[in-house]
C-alpha cells in the first residue's frame, strides 16, 4: 500500500493538484523536431472538472500523457500532487481512462475492475468489495460475471471508468473516453460522469474535441490550438452543479459554447 492512497483528500491544502509552468515538449522525429507542447501554464485545483479541448494535433492528449508520466516533457516544470509526475505515478495518484476501453478480454467484468487492486496487492475480499462498489457507481451492478464481449461499447467504457476508480484515486485522467461512442450513449455517459463527479468529487481532467461535451461537463474549459500545441484561453463555466441535459438549451450554455468556439477560431482551428 502506498501512503498517498490512504492520505486524506485535502492533505495538499492550497497546493494545486496539477501545476504546470512553462511546460514544453518537443518530439525529435526523422523529419526534424515537432513541437507538441509549448509554454503550458495551468494550475488545477482539487475537485475541479477540467476539459482540454482543441482540434487534433493540439497536444491535449500529449498534455494528459505528460501529467500521467507516460511521456516526459522536454522543458518547463510540472508537479502532480506536489511531486514529479513520475513519483505521482509510482504513488498511484491517478486513474487513467483511455480512448478505448482497453479491457482484458480474458477477464470478466469484476476481474477487469480488480486489475489495479491486484497490482497493488490488496487482499481478495477487499478487491471484491471495492470492485462491487465501483461497478455500482457506474450503474453496472449485476454485470460482474459478464465478459467484455458480452457488453456494448458504452458499457465497456463504463467498466473502464469503474476500473480507473476502483482504487479511489483523487485524480481522474480521461482521454476522449466517449469519442468512439454514438451521441445518445455519449449523452447518457456524460450525465453519469457528472453525477459521479458531484457525488465523489475527484479532480477530473477530460480530453475532448466536442464543444457541447466540454461545456456540459466542465468547471473550467482549457482551449488549445495546434502547431505548436499551446493553451489559447481558459474559460470558466458557472452552470449550476445539478445540471442535466436540458441545460444545453439555456442561454448561458450557448454563451459559453460560443466563447469556446470564438477561442478556437482565434487559434485558427477552423482554417
Amino acid at each position: 500500500m502506498t501512503a498517498s492512497m490512504a492520505a486524506p483528500a485535502h492533505e495538499a491544502g492550497s497546493t494545486a493538484v496539477v501545476d504546470a509552468a512553462g511546460l514544453g515538449l518537443t518530439f525529435q522525429t526523422p523529419d526534424g523536431p515537432v513541437v507538441a507542447l509549448e509554454d503550458i501554464n495551468i494550475a488545477i485545483e482539487h475537485g475541479e472538472f477540467i476539459s482540454l479541448i482543441g482540434p487534433s494535433g493540439c497536444g491535449k492528449t500529449t498534455l494528459l500523457r505528460v501529467i500521467a508520466d507516460l511521456v516526459a516533457p522536454t522543458g518547463g516544470a510540472i508537479t502532480v500532487k506536489g511531486t514529479t509526475p513520475h513519483e505521482a505515478r509510482l504513488n498511484r495518484s491517478y486513474g487513467y481512462v483511455f480512448q478505448a476501453p482497453a479491457l482484458y478480454p480474458w477477464r470478466n467484468v469484476a476481474r477487469n475492475v480488480q486489475l489495479p487492486l491486484e497490482v497493488m496487492g490488496l487482499p481478495r475480499e477487499e478487491r471484491a468489495r471495492r470492485a462491487k462498489a465501483s461497478l455500482a457507481t457506474v450503474g453496472l451492478s449485476g454485470f460482474e460475471r459478464k465478459f467484455p464481449w458480452q457488453l456494448s461499447g458504452g458499457m465497456q467504457q463504463r467498466v473502464s471508468i469503474a476500473r480507473a476508480m476502483s482504487f479511489e484515486p483523487e485524480l481522474l485522467l480521461m482521454d476522449e473516453p466517449f469519442g468512439a461512442l454514438d451521441e445518445i450513449t455519449r449523452d447518457n455517459l456524460n450525465v453519469h460522469l457528472l453525477d459521479l463527479w458531484a457525488r465523489t468529487r475527484p479532480t477530473i481532467i477530460f480530453v475532448t474535441h466536442s464543444i457541447p461535451e466540454a461545456v456540459f461537463l466542465s468547471s473550467r474549459i482549457v482551449v488549445m490550438s495546434p502547431r505548436p500545441g499551446r493553451i489559447l484561453r481558459i474559460i470558466d463555466s458557472d452552470l449550476p452543479p445539478d445540471r442535466d441535459l436540458d441545460v444545453r438549451e439555456t442561454g448561458r450554455f450557448l454563451e459559453i459554447a460560443h466563447e469556446v468556439r470564438l477561442a478556437l477560431r482565434e487559434g485558427h482551428s477552423y482554417d
Partner: protein, 306 residues
C-alpha cells in the same frame, strides 16, 4: 442480456451444422482412400502373386491372380483388411507387456514423447520470455533458435543418442531430448508472438498502475499469449512424437514404435510396418485431441473468447 442470447444461438447452430456436415465428406474420403489402397495392392503385389501361383503350378486365371494379390503372406503392400487383422492381433491379441504387443511399444514411445513434450514446451516458453524481455537475447538467441531447426533431425539424432549414451543416459533420456529439440521451436515462435500481442493501450494501463515487469508478464503478456500457445502445442506434440520415433531408429532400440518400424523394414514384414505406422498416426491424433480438449476448457474459463 439480449446481446448474449443473440450471440450464442447462432454460434450453437453453426457448431451443429459444422459437425453434422463434416461426417459425410470425411467418410467419402475414407472410402475413396480404401478403394485406392485395394487397387494399389493388386498392382503392387501382381508380380509376387504370379510367382506364388506359378510355384503352386496349377492353372490359374485373372480371378485367382487378383485373389492372390490380396491374400499374400508377405505382400509388398498389405491390404487394409490384412493390416486390420495385424492391428487386432498385435493389440488385443497380445498381453500388454509382451514385446509383440503394439500397446507396449506405443507406451514406450509415448513416455519419451510426453517427457520430451513437457521439457520442450518449458524450454520454448523460457526462451520466449527471455527473448521478449531482454533485447540482447532477442538479437542473439533468435537466429540460433531458427538455425537449430535447419539441421535435419535424422543427422543430429544419432549424435545425441551417442553423446548422451556415453555419459550414462540411455532409453527415455536421449529420446526425449530429441523430442524436446523438435518441440521447443513452435512453442518459442508462438509464444514470442503471443507475449508481444498486447496493444499499446493495454501496456500503458499497466504503466499507470506502476506495475512491475513480473506483473506485466503474469497479468497481461502471459494471458494474452494463451490463444497463441495452443496451436504451437498441437504442432509441438506431433513433432515430439516424430522425435521419439526417430530417436528409436539409431539406437537399435528393442522397444518403441520406431523399433517396430525398423524391424518391419529389415525383415520385409510390411503388414507389421503398416500396423506400427497406423498406431503412430493414432497416437498423434489422440494427443492432439487431448490438447484440443484442454484448450476448450481453458477457453471456457476465459469467457469463451480469446
Amino acid at each position: 442480456m439480449t446481446a448474449i442470447d443473440a450471440g450464442s444461438a447462432p454460434t450453437r447452430q453453426r457448431v451443429a451444422r459444422r459437425s453434422g456436415g463434416r461426417t459425410l465428406p470425411v467418410l467419402t474420403v475414407l472410402i475413396v482412400l480404401i478403394a485406392v489402397w485395394y487397387v494399389g495392392a493388386v498392382f503392387m503385389n501382381w508380380d509376387r502373386a504370379i510367382r506364388q501361383l506359378d510355384r503352386v503350378g496349377e492353372g490359374w486365371g485373372v480371378v485367382e491372380l487378383v485373389e492372390m494379390t490380396l491374400t499374400l503372406d508377405r505382400p509388398a503392400l498389405p491390404t487394409p483388411d490384412q493390416v486390420a487383422v495385424e492391428l487386432w492381433n498385435s493389440t488385443v491379441g497380445q498381453p500388454i507387456d509382451s514385446p509383440r504387443s503394439l500397446v507396449f511399444h506405443a507406451s514406450v514411445t509415448m513416455s519419451s514423447t510426453l517427457v520430451g513434450f513437457v521439457l520442450g514446451t518449458l524450454l520454448g516458453m523460457l526462451l520466449a520470455i527471455g527473448i521478449v524481455h531482454v533485447r540482447t537475447l532477442d538479437r542473439s538467441l533468435m537466429p540460433w533458435v531458427i538455425a537449430s531447426q535447419t539441421i535435419p533431425i535424422l543427422a543430429i539424432a544419432p549424435m545425441i543418442v551417442v553423446v548422451l549414451g556415453n555419459i550414462g543416459f540411455t532409453g527415455v533420456g536421449p529420446k526425449s531430448v530429441i523430442s524436446a529439440y523438435l518441440c521447443f521451436f513452435p512453442v518459442t515462435i508462438g509464444m514470442v508472438k503471443g507475449l508481444r500481442s498486447p496493444e499499446p493501450m493495454q501496456l500503458d494501463l499497466m504503466r499507470t498502475y506502476s506495475a512491475t515487469g513480473r506483473q506485466v508478464l503474469t497479468k497481461l503478456r502471459w494471458p494474452a499469449s494463451i490463444p497463441f500457445l495452443f496451436p504451437s502445442l498441437r504442432i509441438g506434440i506431433s513433432l515430439a512424437l516424430v522425435g521419439a520415433i526417430v530417436g528409436e531408429l539409431p539406437t537399435g532400440a528393442q522397444a518403441g514404435i520406431g523399433a517396430r518400424l525398423l524391424l518391419g523394414s529389415y525383415y520385409g514384414q510390411m503388414t507389421a510396418l503398416w500396423a506400427a505406422l497406423l498406431i503412430a498416426a493414432f497416437l498423434a491424433i489422440a494427443s492432439i485431441a487431448v490438447i484440443g480438449l484442454v484448450e476448450a476448457l481453458v477457453r471456457k474459463s476465459r469467457g469463451g473468447h480469446a
